[in-house]
Amino acid sequence: MPLLEVNDVVVRFGGVTAVNQARFTADERRITGLIGPNGAGKTTCFNVITGLQRPTSGSVRFGGRDVTRTAVHRRARRGMARTFQRLEAFGSLTVRDNVRVALDIAGGFGGLMRSSSARVDEALDRVGISEYAAERADSIPTGTARLLELARCLVGDPKLLLLDEPSSGLDESETDAFGELLIALASEGKAILMVEHDMDLVMTVCDDIHVLDFGEIICSGSPAEVRADARVQAAYLGASDTDETQHDLAPLDATTTIPAVTS
């Protein structure tokens, strides 16, 4: 049984169906990619999984238990951790204190007494942002802040990592290092579910990929299978053989979201 099962989740905002009958899984030791154009419902899926958004219907199972109605913090305690597309770093605190807070929380009331700075430094080192440790989190570059959010997750040793566009803001070499980090984390036994726009990264590191469009999963499979799928090519990947053309997805987004809203 997979660690995370998303079963037929539907989310409606007023007349807009953001997610429609989404069904996918994520499992230990695997990196699962969730891709699709902007507004396809990827972040909404993350919100449903972590409990920030209650689904209109459908269920989420984590570790064999139904967590659809479980509080946000309880799901985290069971081993879920996520990063955010729109950054949620604690801007008033230093980078080190951001991670320290995460460790305090993960340690429960026992952890309130004493938190080990060794583990904090280890997490910062692992994602490669030790040099920023003493800086305020609202003064570091976006890419670094994303890595900070990852470090904050890692320090609690979660079973499932949900990463929402983790590589945006990273340059090429940083992205490569980040891909290696993901593979290493998966090999240690973590399940990773990742929303990502960098297709090179997705195709390189992911074991499974699910493609969302208009809130529906239009294709699931290995990178090779997804790449070969006609619908995906038509909707999304077809025009993106090079980096430049990927950027053309932005105008496509605008035109594709509007009919979804009016319906």
């Binding site: 007023g14 913090h73 230093t94």
Partner: protein, 666 residues
């Protein structure tokens, strides 16, 4: 039976007026996410303006109405949206609340300044006309009000459902970003909503003024009825808001008719709206965590404990020097300043670090003072007991609304403040109706502190100790968590923090500190009454705390002095009394977006002076140089008050802006 009918008619009349005001509140909140605490204050000012046009200047009633509702009110609404509240909907609730509380206080100041206190009467519409319905006499004014509310409901329905801009308004309730994507103009929509909202506030105020009287505070606080009505519609649904207003109006009217006129039950009548509001808040569903907030709000530096302790000793010495030979009256003022500083410290913890707003912090001080005055021989144990009781009351306020956040929690404190003001504090076993209670001076370790100067010093010692405690908390795990919760509740949640109990604990701690301050104040004054802790005064307290810096101990201390001076200045310059409120209110509006306040400017100045002075000193007194250099090296992050503890914060919104550009090319 006819009596019953008469009360229902009266209830429908007040309900109709509430409905008009409340629908304006809902319109502005739903379209711009800014909860306008000052909604009633706008109604009040505009009712005064109507009086000015129709009575003082003698314009015809219809012309005055057209001028107020059609010109002045919409212009004010447009102006406020354009220059004050724009973009506030995305700011943390603590900021938007402070700004609108600033508007409230500022508007009261404006009214007092433009229309100084004197007897004014606003006659009801067509006072001589009325209709006999069965055995009940319905006045034309009542009928007009009811017709107005039906008209407002109909016009709002048509606007929202039958016009393009109305559709855009409804869309912006759900998702302003999507509206923009469609080519809609959220700013236009927001301006229109505010223009209509303020007009409705004005209409409500004008219709109620003949009944309530042209009173700055009564008309302003009538808005609590509107809050309560709007809450039934969860601040979104206009039909439910109308239903809530009617229910509340009739309930109030029936209470006047059928509740006993004395005893405990009688005290319920004036607090029905507050109870109604509190009850609805308790019944609200679990709040969802918001994501994508502006971050990095707290930027006041945190001094090392040694440094803070030295500052405390210096403060104590200064007070000793200043108070030597001081008159009794001035000593009382110093003690009062210390009290306010302590209450503001409790806000530093709650609002500055924690990001929650309490609109009734003085009420908690009142609970402390009440408990203290009941002590036979007040000593340190008694003080601890007092603190614990106030903390318990604070937890009791936060507990029923455990599941709520931000705005709703603040409104719960507001309902609590009104409840205590109009009911509990007035009870026989409490201060009594307009009564006072004697309070003994505190005994410390068996020594009773009789002299006022000695007592003031003891208060300052408490202030210093409390400051050190707050700073110690800030530096530790709890402080980190508080700031983290303030910056991103959703991140804390997804990291596994159960914020509900933490919040209750924070409220309790903050209320406890305020209670302790109130207790010490009771001992200082000797006699104490409900008037010392009026709910309304919690609002200037909050504002001054924000203006001087609600994120630092220094800000709280300066704010305490400021709040002590405010009534003094008003009493000495009665003709300018309103102006002080104007300055304070609009000062808070201007500074509200940066809760670090004036204190932070002082810290910056200090850093600058030090940066300028250091090379100069080194040049001339070489012996010092190594010391200073060592100092620099030894400074770990966050350990210094005026040194360079935390990197300078960036302007709010920077992160978001940068993030958005990075997403332009997905």
């Amino acid at each position: 039976m006819s009596g019953f009918f008469a009360f229902v008619v009266l209830g429908v009349f007040t309900g109709a007026a509430y409905a008009i005001a409340a629908s304006g509140l809902v319109l502005t909140y739903a379209t711009t996410r800014v909860f306008n605490i000052a909604h009633g204050a706008f109604g009040m000012v505009l009712a005064f303006a109507f009086w000015d046009f129709s009575v003082r200047q003698g314009l015809p009633t219809w012309l005055s109405l057209v001028l107020v509702l059609g010109v002045v009110a919409p212009a004010i609404g447009w102006f406020i949206q354009r220059f004050v509240t724009r973009g506030l909907g995305d700011a943390p609730v603590s900021v938007s609340l402070v700004v609108t509380v600033g508007l409230l206080v500022g508007l009261i100041g404006v009214a007092q300044y433009l229309w100084p206190p004197e007897a004014r009467i606003l006659m009801p519409f067509r006072p001589e006309t009325g209709y006999q319905v069965g055995s009940t006499y319905v006045t034309a004014h009542q009928l007009i009000t009811i017709v107005c509310s039906v008209l407002v409901a109909t016009l709002l329905y048509l606007l929202l459902n039958r016009t393009r801009v109305g559709t855009a308004m409804r869309a912006s309730v759900d998702n302003p970003e999507l509206l923009q994507l469609f080519g809609g103009r959220p700013d236009r929509v927001a301006q229109l909503a505010w223009a209509i909202g303020i007009s409705l506030a004005a209409l409500g105020g004008i219709l109620l003024a003949p009944v309530v009287g042209l009173d700055y505070y009564a008309l302003t606080l009538l808005v609590i009825n509107a809050y309560a009505a709007a809450m039934l519609g969860r601040l979104k649904s206009l039909p439910l808001t109308f239903a809530g207003a009617m229910a509340l109006g009739i309930l109030e009217s029936l209470a006047v008719g059928y509740l006993p006129t004395d005893g405990f039950i009688a005290g319920i009548r004036p607090v029905i709206p507050a109870l109604f509001l509190f009850l609805l808040l308790v019944l609200l569903p679990q709040a969802q965590l918001r994501i994508g907030q502006v971050k990095g709000i707290v930027s006041a530096p945190v001094p090392s404990l040694l440094r803070a302790a030295i500052s405390g000793v210096v403060l104590l010495l200064v007070v000793i020097v200043v108070t030597t030979g001081m008159s009794e009256a001035n000593l009382l003022l110093v003690g009062t300043a210390a009290t306010f500083a302590m209450v503001m410290l409790s806000l530093v913890l709650l609002t500055g670090y924690g990001g929650h707003v309490s609109l009734a912090q003085l009420t908690f001080a009142g609970v402390g003072a009440l408990t203290y005055s009941k002590l036979a021989e007040p000593n340190l144990y008694g003080l601890v007991l007092t603190t614990l009781i106030a903390a318990g009351v604070g937890a009791l306020v936060a507990l029923p609304v455990l599941r709520l956040t931000g705005l709703y929690l603040a409104l719960a404190t507001l309902a609590f403040g009104v409840l205590m003001d109009k009911m509990i504090f007035q009870e026989e076993w409490a201060f009594g109706y307009n009564g006072t209670l004697p309070a003994d001076r505190l005994s410390v370790l068996g020594v009773k502190i009789e002299s006022t100067s000695g007592y003031v010093l003891v208060m300052v010692v408490f202030l210093v100790l409390m400051s050190l405690a707050v700073l110690a908390l800030r530096r530790g795990v709890v402080g980190r968590l508080l700031v983290a919760m303030r910056d991103s509740p959703s991140a804390c949640g997804t990291l596994g923090l159960d914020q509900r109990w933490f919040r209750v604990g924070l409220f309790a701690l903050s209320a406890g500190l305020a209670g302790l301050a109130g207790a010490l104040f009771a001992g200082l004054r000797g006699t104490i009454g409900a008037a010392d802790f009026q709910f309304f005064n919690s609002l200037p307290l909050l504002l001054l705390a924000v203006v001087f810096g609600i994120t630092s101990v220094t800000g709280a201390c300066l704010g305490g002095v400021g709040l002590m001076l405010l009534p003094e200045l008003q009493a000495n310059n009665p003709e300018l009394a309103g102006l002080f409120f104007v300055v304070l209110g609009f000062g808070a509006v201007a500074l509200g977006r940066d809760p670090n306040g004036l204190a932070n400017q002082l810290f910056r100045l200090g850093r600058w002076v030090r940066g300028q002075a250091e090379p100069w000193i080194r040049e001339r007194i070489p012996v010092w140089a190594p010391n200073l250099a060592d100092d620099e090296e030894l400074e770990p992050v966050g350990l210094d008050l005026i040194g360079e503890p935390l990197p300078a914060p960036r302007a709010a919104g920077d992160l978001v802006a940068e993030e958005e550009t990075s997403h332009a090319t997905p």
